[in-house]
Each structure stands twice: as structure tokens, then as C-alpha cells.
Symmetry: C2
Subunit: 151 residues, 2 copies
């Protein structure tokens, strides 16, 4: 699966999340050969789990599938810039490449806020980070969700 | 359960973790009345889950027990200063009080590194943070574990 197709898959997972009342964020983990290891969308409300962000769930599922807590060489594709929790988890799981959609100036921790991968003490950072992929679609989903929530 | 007894419980969970080859960190979540909601130690290797840090597991278990992703009014007692992943999760779970043992100048994110709760954009920080509780015991467990790992 190409990165673009993986992002389309992640966007469709985000849409499913919104239909369930979850913040629309979707994620896909690909292995070294571009095969899908795991997918997820936010499950915070349904799972009574504030840590159930799409990318954290996808990484956890991928690692269980691999039988290892390390996802070396894998690519994480996610519709929104990871928060500090998920960015630090990307380090713990040793994700190889990170591709994300919408920027999150308030909650993001990759290109905003604490910029965890840019810190000297960071033990592992993805060798490649591509941001803003399908940004408009990902941002639009979030905008619509929060607009409906307020109305 | 008092905070001191909860820390003793967390230290004993950390000891169990070490015996299983896991990094010795233990955590306890107490509700508003000081009753234990959940306990955990690191399960990274056994669970093939790099995010399975003691405090993240304990908060997830406590939230499921409560039937809500919010742990408002609860106290998290953990033997080591939380990393950025766990500190951000403390925000997401809306933990009321944080008590931790050993300082972690390299990996911690409360009193070291990104100091997440001190950032202006932080949406929720514990109203009380007490650090260095039983620090010597907690640090000693970690020191012994990594010493044995290297020898």
C-alpha cells in the first residue's frame, strides 16, 4: 500500500470515528514492505480510555501482531499531528517513518509545542517525517466534528 | 490507603516487574476516598507493547473500572517520574494529584525535559504534584535492574 492510499484509509477510519461520536482521527501502520500491520481510529469514549488515540492503538496492535514491542522499519500514517503522548510512544515503539495530515498548533508535539523529536534527549526519532499530507481533508473532518458538537 | 502505603505498594509492584525482566516501575491509582482503583507494573516485554508503562496501564485500568475516560479527583502514585507519553496521558485522563518517586533527568517530562505541565498550552495539570517520595528505594531498584542487565 502506498503512503497516499494509507492516508486515504486513515481518513476513512477517521470518518467512521466521527460517526461513533469519537474525535475523527485515523491511523495505519505499514511494515517494511508497505503491507498493513494494523489500523485504528480514536476509541476514547467507547473504550473509556483517554489514551485510546488512533495512532497509539494502531502501534499497539501492530506490535502485538509482530510479537515485539519494537516497530523498527515501520511507517505510521495518521490524519492529525501526534500529541506529546503519541509522539513519545512513536519513540518508544521505534517507528521508522511518520506521515501525518493536519497540523495541530495547540495539541501537536512534532512540529508544535514541545517538538519532542527535536529535543537532544530524544532516544529515537523517525528517520523521515512528512507532514501536511491530505491536510485539507483531515482538517475539514475535525472542523466539521467540533462544529456539530458545539451546535 | 494513604499515599505512603500506596507508594510501598507501587514499589512492591516494581519489584515484581524486575523479577519478570521488566523495567521496575510500579503504579497505583487511588480514587477520591483513597481506595485503590487499579495497580500495574511495566509490561512492555510481556505484552509486546512499548506503551505498557506502569502508570499508563494503571490509568487505563482505573478508567475502565470507572466506566469513564476521565479520572477527575483521582491520585496517581508511581515509582518513577513519568516520561512525556505518560505525563501527557495524565493530562488526557485528568488526574487530580500526582505523587512520584525517583527523578528521571534523562527521560522524565514533569520536572525535567519538556516539563509538559508547565507549558502554557497544557489543557490540564494535576492540582498537586509531590516528587521524590521514597526516592532512594525507587532509584535503587532501577539501578540494580540495569546493573544486572549489563552484567
Amino acid at each position: 500500500m502506498t503512503t497516499q492510499i494509507a492516508m486515504q484509509k486513515a481518513l476513512s477510519l477517521a470518518k467512521e470515528a466521527a460517526q461513533m461520536g469519537e474525535v475523527p482521527v485515523g491511523a495505519v501502520v505499514l511494515d517494511e514492505n508497505g503491507h498493513v500491520l494494523a489500523v485504528a481510529h480514536n476509541e476514547v469514549e467507547i473504550g473509556h480510555d483517554a489514551s485510546a488515540h488512533a495512532e497509539l492503538l494502531a502501534m499497539r496492535r501492530a506490535a502485538v501482531k509482530r510479537g515485539s514491542p519494537r516497530l523498527t522499519g515501520c511507517t505510521l500514517v495518521v490524519t492529525l499531528e501526534p500529541c506529546p503522548m503519541c509522539a513519545a510512544a512513536i519513540t518508544h515503539f521505534r517507528i521508522g517513518r511518520l506521515i501525518y495530515g493536519a497540523y495541530d498548533p495547540k495539541g501537536g508535539a512534532v512540529d508544535h509545542g514541545p517538538r519532542l523529536f527535536q529535543r537532544e534527549a530524544c532516544l529515537h526519532r523517525p528517520s523521515d517525517i512528512i507532514s501536511g499530507v491530505c491536510e485539507r481533508d483531515a482538517a475539514q473532518q475535525l472542523k466539521e466534528f467540533f462544529h456539530q458538537l458545539r451546535s
